[in-house]
């Protein structure tokens, strides 16, 4: 069966913030209305709605069901939920369109990351026998990975600080980014360790956020957007959940996903990498063979605003917007999930 051509035709994102007092429904509703208004489509024409979020963050099973209030369930709709980042929900929606059951899908995600200790909450997703009972936290686990990379000589703490400084500076041009600062790597290196060998700037800033994307197939996409961002390749790979059994110094799942998505077939103008830690951006660039000609995370990326479960879909929104505007022709969007780059989803999009 040949693949249907599918494109992102519109995106909407909330400004990232800390300490939001809104409910999840209140976070989501404006981006849903915004993204629908951008394409001017009737709601009934949206054949599939797919949501990414994490019930652990609200501490309530099936809390995601409440999100249906933000999209409206009458007349009846076809909808689904992914317990994970919205980018994984986008992958489900892409598959749904491939089946031919619908031509237009709306994907959305939200994370009220700052309402609890997210570093500890995400520990509940780790191996329930060997890891969760120790309560290590994602920062500490990522720090183990960073140390292994430093020991292996494939990066230095200065390289990591350079990633953060570039991201903080790029964020100055992004109105919805949370952390932004005109800072140099030298200034960042003078700051103390938080989870040695990581400093605060090495770890993505937890924020509350929400976003939404509309996907459409073929002629429907052409009718909804002037310059759709066509998905040319998309692939999702997972490394073993055994923390000690996978390499700390390379990401084989990211490398495979990038190859399957066709990253190496041509140049990449912009790569929006979901790297919540500085060393992970360097690992991902190496895994995907991204060279000097690729601008990585012009939005500032997940380091400057990391809304858990929405930060991956935000990468898709940022990459697609650069195609809409014509500032890029061939872009890469990436999402990771789980500790230490366990899962990697890679997508290549092009303008026509």
């Amino acid at each position: 069966m040949s693949r249907r051509d599918v494109a992102i035709v519109a995106t909407a994102q909330r400004p990232n913030e800390v300490g939001s007092t809104l409910t999840s429904v209140e976070l989501i509703l404006p981006v849903i209305n915004d993204v629908i208004a951008k394409v001017g489509i009737e709601r009934q024409k949206i054949g599939f709605w797919c949501h990414g979020s994490c019930d652990y963050m609200s501490g309530q099973p099936f809390s995601f069901v409440a999100a249906v209030d933000a999209i409206g369930a009458w007349p009846p709709i076809v909808e689904s939920h992914v317990e994970g980042d919205g980018a994984l929900a986008l992958y489900e929606a892409w598959v749904k369109i491939q089946t031919g059951e619908c031509d237009v899908a709306l994907v959305f995600s939200n994370g009220k990351t700052t309402s609890g200790p997210i570093d500890r909450i995400l520990n509940l997703q780790a191996d329930p026998y060997m890891v969760t009972p120790l309560w290590p936290g994602f920062d500490s686990l990522s720090a183990l990975q960073a140390r292994a990379c430093l020991d292996a000589g494939i990066m230095t703490e200065a390289d990591m600080a350079e990633v953060a400084a570039r991201s903080y500076r790029d964020a100055l041009n992004n109105p919805i980014a949370y952390a932004k600062e005109n800072v140099t790597a030298e200034q960042l290196l003078a700051r103390p360790y938080t989870s040695a060998p990581l400093r605060a700037h090495d770890c993505g800033v937890p924020v509350d956020g929400a976003n939404a994307i509309i996907l459409a197939a073929g002629d429907a996409a052409r009718s909804l957007a002037e310059r759709p961002a066509w998905i040319r390749g998309i692939d999702h790979r997972i490394d073993t959940q055994r923390l000690g059994a996978r390499s700390m110094t390379e990401s084989s799942s990211a490398a495979i996903a990038a190859a399957k998505a066709g990253v190496g077939n041509d140049r990449i103008d912009i790569a929006e990498l979901h790297a919540p830690y500085t060393h992970q951006e360097i690992l991902l660039r190496r895994a995907m063979n991204l060279g000097e000609g690729t601008h990585v995370n012009p939005s500032g990326g997940a380091l400057v605003s990391n809304p858990a479960m929405a930060a991956g879909l935000a990468r898709f929104a940022e990459a697609a917007e650069s195609v809409f505007s014509g500032s890029a022709d061939r872009v890469l969007a990436h999402c990771t999930s789980g500790p230490m780059l366990q899962q990697n989803l890679v997508c290549v999009m092009e303008g026509e």
Partner: protein, 126 residues
């Protein structure tokens, strides 16, 4: 996995041997290479080596130690892959990649990874 947790409760470290001869601790139930169920168990010593570490300067509730400590991936002597646990190093300056460590058993054991209270540095052995 029940044999593994029961052996921890009894103060023994048991891993499984894979088709390529590699010993997995914590044990692999299924061979990572062939996917076959693994049946050959190996008892490992209480000593091992730190392969990477990070520093928890402000311990959080329920973590293995209440004072600052190191998280580490530790490969037990004779094992092929490391496990995650805490090292009671006292000070960040005392631990490094390659440090030799030894299991400190919990006073009361119930058949889980917390039966290992943490690891201690082997003085002068690193």
């Amino acid at each position: 996995m029940s044999r593994f947790f029961l052996s921890l409760q009894e103060g023994r470290l048991e891993g499984t041997k894979g088709s390529d001869g590699r010993v997995y601790f914590p044990p692999a139930e299924f061979d990572p290479v062939t996917g076959e169920q693994l049946h050959e168990w190996v008892t490992l010593p209480e000593t091992g080596t730190v392969v990477t570490w990070s520093w928890q300067s402000e311990p959080q509730p329920n973590q293995p130690l209440e004072h600052p400590f190191a998280w580490a991936l530790i490969t037990l002597d004779g094992a092929a892959v490391p496990m995650l646990h805490a090292v009671d190093a006292g000070d960040m300056a005392r631990i490094r990649t390659g440090s030799r460590v030894k299991v400190r058993w919990a006073a009361e054991r119930s058949g889980g990874v917390r039966d290992i209270a943490c690891f201690d540095l082997l003085e002068g052995a690193s």
